[in-house]
């Protein structure tokens, strides 16, 4: 997820399916809210950090739940245990200048079937729930809406003089 331009931005990076490098969100609605908060003198970095971290926690929990329910072997590099361990759980936003990033999805450097589950293989259909999280639009829209709610709270605080 990226907000471009010269404004403070957010970026949703890393993890996701083996085949995709980024969990992409359409953040055009958030850009406008960030700009509004900026205009009110609100703390953009704090707002965006909170929005990103709460969203990342949601994705992390939903991913763990989906992996628990997926049909995976008990042992081996594609086991349920290894796959669960490979879920990125460092829900901490890292800032590079005006861009904030948080990792979600699966750590590709570890064993686990995360990539297989999302893309499927010729012998295994994609996991529906993980595809919902990492591929389909509806879940991502919900994540973006939850981020907007957080930033709107900061906007309200700024408008009411509580910065």
């Amino acid at each position: 997820m990226a907000v471009g331009g010269n404004r403070t931005g957010v970026k949703w990076n890393k993890g996701g399916a083996l085949r995709r490098n980024k969990f992409r969100l359409d953040t055009s609605g958030i850009d406008d809210l960030v700009e509004k908060l900026d205009g009110l003198g609100g703390n953009i970095q704090k707002a965006v950090t909170q929005a990103l971290e709460e969203a990342a926690e949601t994705v992390q929990e939903d991913t763990k739940e989906a992996v628990k329910k997926a049909y995976l072997p008990a042992k081996g590099q594609y086991s349920g245990g290894d796959t669960e361990k490979s879920i990125v759980d460092n829900v901490k936003v890292e800032w590079s200048g005006t861009i904030g990033e948080v990792g979600v999805g699966f750590d590709k450097t570890q064993n686990g079937a995360g990539g297989f589950l999302i893309t499927g293989t010729p012998r295994m259909a994609p996991d529906y729930k993980l595809e919902d999280i990492y591929v389909r639009k509806r879940y991502k829209s919900q994540i973006v809406e939850s981020m907007k709610r957080v930033i709107n709270e900061y906007i309200t605080d700024a408008m009411e003089g509580r910065k």
Partner: protein, 111 residues
Amino acid sequence: MEDELKRYLGSFGYPVIRQGSLAKDTSYPPTFFTFWNIEEAASYYDNQEAILSYDFDVNVYSTDPNTAYSLLDQARTLLKNNGWIIAQRGYDVASDEISHVGKGMRVIHLS
């Protein structure tokens, strides 16, 4: 739309199967396509269905990496020339068999 996609992919002369449908005891063909229907979504305007979006994964698996790369590229060109939207050049996809490499892309058709 699935039939149209299968027809285009089938024109290259390789098997075309749904992702996940290959039986465990069936060998991978040397080169083949798979597809997966991610979603079909409708956009509405004035309470009327305005646009239907058909979203698929298309993958190529092959014992020869060059074939996988080249075939995916050819499929990309053919589909784009026939109105499909493809925003990527491709990415790696997982293979059950160590003998094969997989390359995939996401394709969308709007109607």
